[in-house]
């Protein structure tokens, strides 16, 4: 049960594909693998922008075919311990959320704030919660080598009813291991905003190859954030309260479901 950001990464990256499948099937497969139920991820986040800092995070997620709920909680350093972000997205509705700053400040996030930085990193709130594999338009637009690995390039574009700050997202998928090795997110002007590179692939607790370490680059600002997965645990029991503005303020361990 080592190092895998599976569900978290899948929100940023994608997984799985098989040669010869049309783009819609591939996207559907990636989307369904992303929605893998309740899981707990532990990771180290190294932000290397104008200010450099490291965070240890605990990420609780509940992802179904219709709803995504995520709680990011800072475990370390001490001065930021307890900071938390709650994100929720249902179907095509706009994402919403809340931010908790200890000891008692809770700020609600509306859809216009989803472009803002997640915990000061190069990821936005939307990057954490958005599933671009369920967007209407999916196409395989080419094949390219990434780190000497041949990848299919899946291009995803939102439909009219689907809100996103990006106009398109390209995912480079290693077809042999079913692992996404790169993602690029573009504005409607065609400008590349964000690139996410997989720097290490590992096996998760479901014996799947998944991205374990990622580097997120903010192209416009020239800053990067490294995400180093420490562990992932699937089939976790969460209470509904943990995904509410009242419950996400408490840092508690997650229990595995009864086996």
């Amino acid at each position: 049960m080592k190092l895998l950001l599976t569900p978290f990464c899948l929100a940023l990256l994608a997984v799985s594909a098989h040669a010869g499948e049309p783009a819609t099937d591939l996207a559907a497969k990636l989307g369904s693998m992303q929605q893998d139920g309740a899981s707990l991820v532990r990771l180290k986040m190294d932000v290397r922008g104008t200010t450099k800092f490291t965070l240890q995070l605990q990420i609780k997620q509940r992802r179904t075919s219709t709803t995504t709920e995520i709680v990011y909680q800072v475990l370390w350093p001490k001065e930021r311990a307890g900071e938390a972000v709650l994100l929720r997205k249902t179907g095509d509705q706009a994402a919403t959320g809340a931010v908790f700053t200890p000891p008692n400040k809770v700020s609600m996030l509306d859809s216009s704030q989803m472009k803002e930085a997640l915990l000061g990193s190069d990821l936005s709130y939307a990057d954490g919660v958005e599933n671009f594999f369920i967007w209407k338009q999916q196409a395989i637009v080419g094949t390219e080598m990434v780190n000497r690995v041949s990848c299919d390039i899946l291009e995803s574009k939102p439909g009219r009813s689907q809100r996103s700050s990006y106009s398109s997202v390209r995912t480079w998928v290693d077809r042999r291991r079913d692992v996404p090795l790169r993602i690029e997110k573009y504005l409607s002007s065609g400008q590349l905003v964000r690139r996410i590179d997989t720097t290490r692939v590992a096996t998760n607790d479901k014996n799947q190859s998944v991205p374990a370490n990622l580097t997120v680059s903010d192209i416009r600002h020239g800053s990067t954030t490294d995400l180093n997965g420490a562990s992932v645990k699937h089939a976790v029991n969460f209470s509904d309260r943990e995904f509410t503005p009242a419950g996400f303020m408490e840092v508690v361990p997650a229990r595995s479901a009864a086996e």
Binding site: R42, L75, V236, P253
Partner: protein, 371 residues
């Protein structure tokens, strides 16, 4: 002038080219020494860790991940009842990032179990009980985490206190964050789960009896696999992959070395065509010319091997000083590895010289007249 002098002069004729070829072989051999030494050292340090804990058999479920898969803690009690098991200690071992360190061994041990007994306090104290929010750090772990006795340490969801710094007698032990199993299970939500059991067998068991005991344990606890301590790491797919990668990378480097030597020796044969033809004209047999070329390439390989062993050892010593991996390497540079590396270099030299030697044997004395 002796036969050996001719060989040495042959190499000295083009010192720059000989030097560059030597560098090529040396890098290949240095890669072999460094990568295989690190890989073997990793395995040896785990075996040493087991030995100092007094562990005869390790029960775990090593898959393709770096840490073993968890299973029910009840397995420990089932195994402990077997007649030839003298003692059992349940452990939850994890490789995880701790504070700003990317990868640390976290070893959560059954409170009162024998796996605590090898830890010698350097400073501070051991935890008072199983649920005291406390950890002890191996001395290397304390250096990496920059902690001293009394400092807080954030582990998963809980802030614990470093109550002691210990010498565990092995690199793995000294690089570990060590705490009570019950406490770790509580702060990670893994109650009732473990992923390693250290077993002490009854005294006086032979090697065969030990293997038989492993089979008994495997029958009793099919959730995991029992291996004689030291052999268990080889059961890990991840370790086997790392080991294969080490040899694979080394092999590539050696192939580059082969091509380098072959190129040098071919050039030597072409440039010394007239000299070789004269040697043939004064009575040298083609077989002697072949031996001369092969000796030259073997000597080149031997020298490259010696330099490569030194370079590889130095490279790892430098690596050990890097902050990111300080305390995580315990390379195994035994004499056997050095000898294998030098022998490999000589074999590379000889193999690389075969084709040029064959070309030289095809020359005839009459070619010397053609200039």
């Amino acid at each position: 002038m002796t036969f050996f002098t001719i060989i040495v002069r042959g190499l000295q004729r083009r010192p720059v080219r000989t030097g560059l070829t030597l560098v090529g072989i040396s890098i290949g051999i240095a890669a072999v020494v460094a990568l295989v030494g690190i890989s073997r050292g990793f395995e040896a340090s785990w075996a040493t860790g087991m030995k100092v804990r007094g562990t005869d058999i390790v029960v775990s479920n090593m898959g393709s991940a770096l840490a073993p898969k968890p299973f029910s803690a009840t397995v420990r009690d089932r195994i402990a009842k077997l007649p030839q098991v003298a003692d059992a200690c349940a452990i939850y071992a994890d490789l995880t990032s701790v504070e700003d360190a990317s990868m640390m061994v976290v070893s959560a041990r059954e409170w009162g179990g024998f796996s605590w007994h090898n830890l010698k306090l350097i400073s501070g104290r051991m935890p008072h009980d199983a649920m005291e929010p406390a950890v002890v750090l191996g001395q290397t772990a304390a250096e990496v985490l920059k902690k001293k006795v009394g400092d807080p340490l954030q582990l998963e969801t809980k802030e614990l206190t470093v109550t002691g710094i210990v010498d565990g007698g092995a690199m793995v032990e000294n690089g570990s964050v060590i705490l009570s199993l019950a406490l770790f299970q509580n702060i990670t939500g893994n109650e009732g789960r473990i992923n390693v059991i250290d077993i002490r067998a009854a005294p006086g068991l032979t090697e065969d009896e030990m293997k038989h005991l492993c089979e008994q344990i495997n029958t009793t606890a099919p959730e995991a696999r029992a291996m004689v301590a030291g052999e268990h790491l080889g059961n890990s797919q991840a370790f086997r992959f790392i080991s294969a990668m080490s040899w694979g990378t080394s092999l590539l480097a050696v192939i580059v070395g082969v091509l380098g030597v072959m190129n040098t020796m071919l050039m030597t044969v072409f440039e010394r065509k007239q000299e070789i033809c004269i040697l043939l004209a004064i009575g040298w047999k083609p077989g002697r010319v072949i031996r001369m070329i092969l000796w030259e390439s073997a000597l080149l390989g031997f020298l490259g091997g010696i330099v490569g062993v030194v370079l590889g050892t130095l490279a790892v010593k430098v690596l050990e000083t890097l902050p990111a991996i300080h305390g995580m390497l315990e390379p195994d540079f035994n004499a056997g590895l050095m000898a294998v590396a030098v022998a490999l270099a000589v074999i590379v030299g000889v193999l690389s010289g075969l084709y040029p030697a064959w070309r030289s044997s095809r020359l005839t004395p009459s070619l010397a007249m053609q200039g």
